[in-house]
């Protein structure tokens, strides 16, 4: 699993988090810690770009919810984008999309902030 962060020009407190590879039981805790640690101070709006995510298990999905809870506590937002169809179907199945907004593209997600 690789996670990288991009600042968004002209949108203070907003970052795009690119997640690549697999988030499974061996990496979910690291993913959760990295995601939550990003949310501090002025950084409270996250767009999580899953374009290069090939697999995520229940612990990884739980980490996304942990990040969402953290930003909500700071009146921030966490949105997902570029979710591949197989993962998106499971996101819908467990009704995670009822809690975390899912957008087709990064631009769309940023446009709703």
């Amino acid at each position: 699993m690789e996670l990288s962060v991009r600042q968004v020009t002209g949108a203070p407190g907003t970052v795009v988090v690119d997640v690549a590879g697999e988030v499974d039981s061996s990496s979910a805790e690291q993913f959760r810690e990295q995601l939550v640690s990003l949310i501090a101070g002025d950084t409270k709006h996250l767009v999580v770009n899953l374009a290069d995510l090939t697999y995520i298990n229940s612990s990884g999905l739980g980490a996304l919810v942990a990040g969402y809870r953290r930003v909500r506590a700071l009146d921030g937002t966490l949105k997902l984008c570029n979710v591949r169809s197989s993962i998106a179907e499971v996101v819908k199945l467990i009704r995670l999309d009822k809690i975390i907004e899912v957008h087709d593209t990064e631009e769309q997600a940023l446009g709703t902030l």
């Binding site: 499974d24 039981s25 229940s58 739980g62 919810v65 591949r84 197989s86 199945l93 467990i94 009704r95």
Partner: protein, 159 residues
């Protein structure tokens, strides 16, 4: 790893794995091969991989009181055209399969439930797959069988 009865029509793989976290990924990688051989869609394949992952994690975390390289569990994957069946069994501590949490077959959308999805593995598996059967005896081990897809022989979902 023992791969038996491999034909173009039906593939059966059996793994005996140590009760350690790395075994979940091994089972998942083999499941991916079986899903491809069975011609599942990427979405179907992902459902099966997630189910295999959850079932194996359940064993590793709970069957023997946590990871234990001296203990093992069995994963059987059977793939036919458009259908994959998974059986995960252990000789561990077992549990009360009549427990409400085990019988639960739908997921809840509240934050707390979703944040701890990994503790609701059996519910998630039930949501992902077309069928789920649990046999567990306290002190006598657990077997969970799930399947996804249609039986090519009669075109019917088999439960």
């Amino acid at each position: 790893m023992n791969v038996a009865g491999t034909t173009s029509a039906r593939m059966r793989c059996e793994l005996i794995l140590p009760c350690v976290p790395g075994s979940c990924r091994k089972a998942r990688l083999l499941a991916a091969e079986v899903c491809k051989d069975a011609g599942l869609t990427p979405t179907g394949e992902y459902r099966v991989l997630l189910a295999v992952d959850e079932l194996c994690q359940n064993v590793v975390q709970h069957a023997y009181g946590g990871p234990n390289p001296n203990e093992s569990f069995r994963v059987i994957l059977t793939g036919g055209p458009g259908r994959v069946e998974v059986t995960v069994s252990d000789n561990g501590c077992g549990f009360d399969s009549d427990d409400a949490l085990c019988r639960e077959e739908t997921m809840h959308e509240d934050l707390e439930s979703l944040m701890h999805l990994e503790h609701r593995g059996l519910s998630l598996v039930a949501s992902l797959m077309d069928s789920r059967a649990i046999e567990s005896v306290i002190g006598g081990g657990t077997t969970v069988r799930v399947h996804l897809g249609r039986d090519a022989a009669d075109g019917q979902a088999v439960t």
